[in-house]
């Protein structure tokens, strides 16, 4: 008993083919969209690659780009098949290719689902990459005279301004590193000597942050130096003050930025999967309705279309039997009707067992 049988007359077949042709064009555009999303994501990752220590994995955007191009190709071909489906001569050229094409569509849809899943999961490795990258970026902030790192200060300042964040986890990360270059420290001054002497590594540490941590929305001019010293500033309590500098850490800011982007892209890919499944089912209907004309010589006769020739369970067992048979070798050439050879009669059939019509035809051939 076939799955979801639908009766088709000529008019319905024509309508189905036209509708499906339009849907395939939408799918091509969806493929272009996926491709451009992958490209956009790749560019965004490259832009901040310094914060990720030049170590980030570009696997997901590359996969999106490849899948987008593949979608364009498959959908364009599907559109061409639909366009030709109403002309029996042209369609007969496509017939042998339809089964492999539909199988590859199924595989492609699985790939799309996998891509969407990867988009949602990419957050996790990104978190680790960013933690490491930002830690190093903060360390190299002062090295504006070291070739290869001289723009780290500018990059980090612009990033903190743009994303409204300060430090790696929070602003206290700036207290643990020396972010003022030695060129601008007067080593003959007592204050400098005290600070350097106060820690093991001889670093000039202070409870201050760079200007890019300042919040423009604060009602008072920015307090960057002696941030934890309440007496250094009039009417200031650093425990309750939260408008002065940005509270959020840059790792959280970047994760939420990229996370949002990836969630959107993943959702979009899932929508494209739904579209692809719809056009695949439509193509199967076109295929089966064209193949099963009640009167093969009369193109205007009625026909039936279905998704699967038998129920899901039987189709699945057929596929398993076929695979077992293939692995056992060529032991089933003779015998005929009870065998599991795939037999091209008029149209292909899913599974291996030959149906009633084919059985009749084989009997005729054997007699004749």
């Amino acid at each position: 008993m076939a799955l979801m049988v639908v009766k088709f007359d000529l008019k319905k077949r024509v309508k189905l083919a036209q509708f499906l042709w339009l849907m395939y064009w939408f799918s091509v555009m969806a493929g272009v969209l996926v491709f451009s999303m992958g490209l956009f994501f790749k560019i965004e990752l490259r832009k901040r690659s310094e914060m990720m220590d030049n170590n980030e994995s570009h696997f997901v955007p590359n996969l999106l780009i490849a899948v987008g191009l593949l979608a364009c190709g498959i959908n364009a071909m599907g559109g061409k098949i639909c366009y030709d489906s109403l002309d029996p001569i042209k369609f007969s050229r496509w017939k042998p290719m339809l089964k492999p094409f539909l199988v590859s569509c199924v595989a492609f849809n699985c790939l799309l689902v996998l891509t969407a899943l990867l988009c949602f999961l990419m957050r996790i490795p990104l978190q680790f990459t960013l933690a490491e990258g930002l830690k190093n970026a903060l360390k190299f902030y002062k090295d504006t005279d070291t070739p290869g790192r001289c723009y780290m200060k500018r990059t980090l300042d612009q990033m903190q301004i743009e994303f409204r964040c300060c430090g790696n986890n929070n602003f206290r990360d700036w207290f643990e590193i020396q972010w003022v270059s030695n060129r601008y420290l007067d080593f003959s001054a007592k204050e400098v000597k005290d600070r350097i002497g106060s820690n093991v590594d001889g670093k000039y540490l202070m409870d201050a942050v760079p200007f890019s941590c300042c919040n423009p929305g604060s009602p008072r001019p920015c307090i960057q130096y002696q941030v934890t010293n309440n007496t250094a500033h009039y009417s200031y309590d650093h425990h309750t003050e939260d408008l002065n500098i940005w509270k959020r850490g840059c790792r959280d800011a970047l994760i939420s930025y990229y996370g949002g982007m990836m969630n959107t892209i993943g959702a979009l890919v899932l929508l494209v999967v739904i579209l692809e499944v719809i056009v695949m089912i439509g193509l199967q209907y076109v295929n089966t309705s064209q193949c099963n004309l009640a009167n093969p010589e009369d193109p205007e006769s009625e026909s039936e279309g279905w998704i699967l020739e038998k129920t899901v369970k039987e189709t699945f067992t057929d596929i398993m039997d076929k695979m077992k048979a293939m692995s056992k070798g060529n032991a089933v050439e003779e015998g005929g009707v009870e065998g599991v050879a795939t037999f091209e009669v008029d149209c292909w059939r899913i599974g291996g067992a030959i149906g009633d019509e084919a059985r009749v035809k084989v009997a005729e051939v054997n007699q004749g």
């Binding site: 200060k153 300042d157 612009q158 301004i161 007067d186 890019s212 929305g217 009602p219 001019p221 009417s235």
Partner: protein
Amino acid sequence: MALLKLQFPLQRRVRLAQSLWLLSWLAVLAGAFTFSLGVYLKTELLRRAEVMDNTEIHVVPNILMLVGLITIGINLFAGRVCQDSLDSARFPPWKPFLLPWYGLAWMVCVWLLSAVVLSYALQGHLEESLKVGLRNGIRFYRDTDVPGRCFQKETIDRLQMELRCCGNTNYRDWFEVQWISNRYLDFTSKEVKDRVRSNVDGRYLMDGVPFSCCNPGSPRPCLQNHLTDNAAHYNYEHQSEELNLYIRGCRQALVDYYMGLMNTIGPGILSVISLQMSVLVSLRYLQTSLDGVDPENPEADSEGYILAKGVKETMMDVKNTMFNLLQFGQVEAGDEAEAGEDGEKAATSS
């Protein structure tokens, strides 16, 4: 002698109508483009409305928006006319509307040209408006507790960071203003009291700038205070230091930004003008060539021209028509009286 006369056989007339139809649709798109340019320019001006003192410069985007809508309208009309033009039954109803149409199309071109000219001519006004607006912005920077001005600080900070500028003319504008609110000044400390007493108005002035003036591209951490005091910072000389703060003033930055916008918009508008002129000329040729068609022989050749007589003669004709219209009332009564006298003289003499 007609101006720019051309021969129009039937085939050419048909081609002219077809290309005019296409041109008019292009002109509709051009009108939509002009409208959207006007909207874009207006939104950009409104974004920085807080640092502008007056809205004189808004006349440019307003003209662009209005003219864009009018252009869409007249070109839809032109498309409709030329669709009907080859059918001799449907064309005559449109004829009376064509003369006002030419006038309107001509006005559209003049307005667009004036918009382009104004955008350059009003640069001085824009600069004045920005000068006053920024001066007020800097003066009210500290009033974060005064309703109506509490966001001035954030606006100025974001402006300086986005446009990479500092102060009105340059960073020294911040030295002349008290930009720290009194709420955050400890009036019991000696330093504050000295500074407040050092000037007539009792303001807390200092040679320091807000953090938003800092240049992220500077190799050293930003120096905001004691900017003119070389001894206050190690290895610092304020005369030669260029990277610490933004050198450019915000007025110059904003004027450059808006002039850049106008320079980009200018060529677009000029191409819209030329498109509209070509639609106008084509429609005039179509009208005159169809008028010259012999009703008995609709497929014969005809002539098309822009003006029936030369430019000078047409101007004389227009002047005379205007003259007559204006003097219509007085001339009528005078003529009748004269005609009556002449008639009597003729009667008595004969």
